[in-house]
Symmetry: D3
Subunit: 227 residues, 6 copies
Amino acid sequence: MVEGNSLRVLAVGAHPDDVELGCGATLALFKRRGHEVYLLVLTKGEASGDPAVREKECKQSADCIGSDKLFFGNLKDTKITDGVETVMEIERFVDRLKPDIIFGHSFKDGHQDHRNAGMATLSAARNSKKVLLYESPAALREFCPQLFVDVTSTFDVKLKALEAFGSQATKVYFKGSDSHNEGRKFPYVSNAAEGLARFRGFQAGAELAEAFEVGKFLLEIEDRSER
Amino acid sequence: MVEGNSLRVLAVGAHPDDVELGCGATLALFKRRGHEVYLLVLTKGEASGDPAVREKECKQSADCIGSDKLFFGNLKDTKITDGVETVMEIERFVDRLKPDIIFGHSFKDGHQDHRNAGMATLSAARNSKKVLLYESPAALREFCPQLFVDVTSTFDVKLKALEAFGSQATKVYFKGSDSHNEGRKFPYVSNAAEGLARFRGFQAGAELAEAFEVGKFLLEIEDRSER
Amino acid sequence: MVEGNSLRVLAVGAHPDDVELGCGATLALFKRRGHEVYLLVLTKGEASGDPAVREKECKQSADCIGSDKLFFGNLKDTKITDGVETVMEIERFVDRLKPDIIFGHSFKDGHQDHRNAGMATLSAARNSKKVLLYESPAALREFCPQLFVDVTSTFDVKLKALEAFGSQATKVYFKGSDSHNEGRKFPYVSNAAEGLARFRGFQAGAELAEAFEVGKFLLEIEDRSER
Amino acid sequence: MVEGNSLRVLAVGAHPDDVELGCGATLALFKRRGHEVYLLVLTKGEASGDPAVREKECKQSADCIGSDKLFFGNLKDTKITDGVETVMEIERFVDRLKPDIIFGHSFKDGHQDHRNAGMATLSAARNSKKVLLYESPAALREFCPQLFVDVTSTFDVKLKALEAFGSQATKVYFKGSDSHNEGRKFPYVSNAAEGLARFRGFQAGAELAEAFEVGKFLLEIEDRSER
Amino acid sequence: MVEGNSLRVLAVGAHPDDVELGCGATLALFKRRGHEVYLLVLTKGEASGDPAVREKECKQSADCIGSDKLFFGNLKDTKITDGVETVMEIERFVDRLKPDIIFGHSFKDGHQDHRNAGMATLSAARNSKKVLLYESPAALREFCPQLFVDVTSTFDVKLKALEAFGSQATKVYFKGSDSHNEGRKFPYVSNAAEGLARFRGFQAGAELAEAFEVGKFLLEIEDRSER
Amino acid sequence: MVEGNSLRVLAVGAHPDDVELGCGATLALFKRRGHEVYLLVLTKGEASGDPAVREKECKQSADCIGSDKLFFGNLKDTKITDGVETVMEIERFVDRLKPDIIFGHSFKDGHQDHRNAGMATLSAARNSKKVLLYESPAALREFCPQLFVDVTSTFDVKLKALEAFGSQATKVYFKGSDSHNEGRKFPYVSNAAEGLARFRGFQAGAELAEAFEVGKFLLEIEDRSER
């Protein structure tokens, strides 16, 4: 049972599968450790497939991670701006959920929807205490890993969650070109995600890790003085 | 009484007063909340005064913060390198104390001793989980505040600790030029430190804050699942 | 009386109070030293209050600074882009006033209106000789202070100008949360501005300073050879 | 047989195993494609083991890659500077070999020997046409991958070359802590190198890739006009 | 005659003359060496003149460089976004031409059309092997030259191509202010372009060079092993 | 005749010719406008020639610029550190001359003597009001021009001053390789300096300009109120 001093986590992504790729194993770990996890997906990813199918896949993936609730925003795929309409869409959920930690896209990303979603998340979270920006496979080379989560124990959940996105499995992005995919269990992007987690793990002194840029982090120091 | 799950904090500075200026209020807060705080000062600051006097002032300041122990390194003031001799000097204490969090100089600093001490601290702490780099008044303009500690409740301790460094009180650095110091209670540098804390506080949503660059931060997620 | 070789200064802000927060004391100093100061506020800030009230407050604040004239642009609050419509709105005033120095928002800012206004100012000022970008309290951590103005003698004017914005006084941004505001003379944001000025002053060797990024600076060397 | 228009490649590393970790698979690919590959290791790595043993391991590894010749510099482990003595040590080999491409350490590295060796390599190569800076597992977070080599066909050679460094196998750096190494075929560092190659491969559109920062790259355009 | 292993080059610019200013001499060199060169100009530059005239000038300039074909996009001058409409406009040509190398605007540019065109080019080219970003005279100070092409033999073609843009010759941008242009053969911008090429040449060890940022570069290693 | 309110300028370089290449035309302009110009050359450049010859050339060049006095430091060519010995060598002259503006090497430079001299200059000038960092031909690609001086009227003096360094005329750095130097009036480096000045001029809206990074700039606002 979730108690009073568990944390509330909100992860914001531009499209179905962004949150899973960026911080799926970290969210699964929060959940397993007894915290609350909410997902906000700003669009239904209608530019890359049937929105009904993508919504269904996204729910399946969210269940896999164990998220407490999955919300969809009303924004249009490929048309996300960093302006007030995106900021307000995210603020609605920040105000309502009052999350302790917010995860959003890094700005260092090759996809304009990701960049804009990330900037809008930081604006919407301006009164929040902790904002961490996740690394997507479309991350630009300037992404700068600063904060790490050891996800050795939940990385399999991430891979499983990614498998839910079956409708994307034929996209180059997911499966890679034919030449480098034969005989591999997972699609290309999962393979890359695992490779990355292994390297970030090495940097963090863990087996597998996810890495984040620090948008803002108010460090709290727990009181041990009266125990 | 300090219990098992209190944290061990080690703060490394190049000269007496560096640690106090950079993270004195944060250290005081760790102490007040029941954690262990160790200081390692790499030199006795002999280039700016009598080392015996500076050592004494430094002890007085450390007592003020409530540090569990103050260590001095064997390095020469103004001659600190980023090489193996500095790394090993710091490693001795990292290996012995096994600190949970290490504070060191930011590299973005106009003083070569500070820059080199900071780089050596990060090298010496390569197997540690959390390294935070503090902002000195000599910080270069590239310093990038990422992580904040609300020090509203202990900022007065920092100011008091700084008062211990009486031998520096006539230096321009501490008191400023004559024209802008009349009728001010604290020396110039304390005044600047308070101004900075107020602005960092605003950025952090607190009254007074100290800010840090993240050298490395392995985020641990506490288990609430069985409570 | 203003003579031929006084300077013309134009300060561009996205909303009422931006210019004051960013460079109010510097503008007051230009004015006091006999130069011409013009303000261009791109929107009436209608997203945070009654535009008529905000316009009136803005005029009062501009009078306080002593500005020669306050202009309002025709842009929409929260909808400022970095595109041609913003560039042209600013160009109108640059072409007409031919300012010697232009102040604009830094791009390193958490608010999209600020970022976009700053970029458009730099575009509109592409044939101008000096463009300086000011630091707002919403500045992102990447803001990089490069050029300083000693505003010890006019900082009180800035605080007074900020008091004109009474309609904002109940906003979190202005007053902070309840817990850290008791018994303080000025609202939270003024308090932060003063703290920042004190630290920037320390960096500049002054008591109180405002800091700027250099957008472009053509240094002119005065002729002393025939005197 | 190597013909006239094969390329000459020189890879410079601070210690035995640096070159292999940074660009071992790329070097193996150059060799397999008929080019000449030379290794310059600036120290014998005497700070981490018996120099005679490390030299022998290094030769074995170089043979594995198929390098044409392995040279050792006369510098001291942990004492490499970015000064003239390092620049001249490298220049000796640049002048003699006149390499078409030079590989060196990235400056974005947590180890001072690596940083200094990298800067000295760039200085020594100031009249060379192509200098590429490789990514070490000790790379700082600022490393910025810009140029990629698809090493799918030779990555096994890199892993084999790394196995030659048996004397390092018990170091934390190579094997990781006990908890995350059980039942793994390769030591920790190889595991991380493979993970990284997989992610860099994804970024490059390949299965496995090594990534480099561009120190300098004079692009030559081959003549097809008369064929 | 162009053979099978000649390269296909696509250069993307926001307005007529952007491609010529950024990489005109490099394109002329590709052409002279027997490769295929395609130009894609996203708008007809209608904001700075009669689009019919500008189109005609652009064709004349493209002929001068020897481009195989000049394409125009359907975007509006001064209104280019980094969004899906620009990405798709460029993708049409990337998919059709399958270029080996793509040249686009650097993001470090003072003109919003240039910035947005550059980002959209990188998105559209996400599955391409080489993307190089050129330096425009409107480049911001952060432009970072990494890759150079020695254009000593074709720089005269660039100057000639620029002369085609006669309708722009009276713009300040092209001719400079009256005071610094008397008795000069080329308009101001050509003069600047030549100055820049000379400095980039010095940095590259050539007489005249054009410089590029590396968007992405997959280095291919030719096989010499069987000759 | 030099009057009371002329400025005092100190330019610090690592070797003979550094100051001339970096800011020679700016210094000549200060001199022509009636200000005082002092040069401090930290070494006699003994690593690249007979120190007596280089000293003589340096004096001839300083006379050409019209410098009030040329000082030599006691540091060793190729051995300049960023440590206390360099800082103190520069401080001697800063304390004695009390310059209004100090010019030093940019840190973004491929030569370790230049980097270290630049950092030491900024340390030594920590209580000065204006420190500008000049661009050397060995500047790394990260050099970021921020402040410009229009040197159209004195650029010929710079070229003449550079001609004084006859002993360097056969170095690759000065004359370039044989292939790209035939029939040119000036040595290679002068040619590059002129090309750069033309481009920086274009960026600044002038014909020829020198560009600087801003180390620190305290903007003073002249009083026009009582005229």
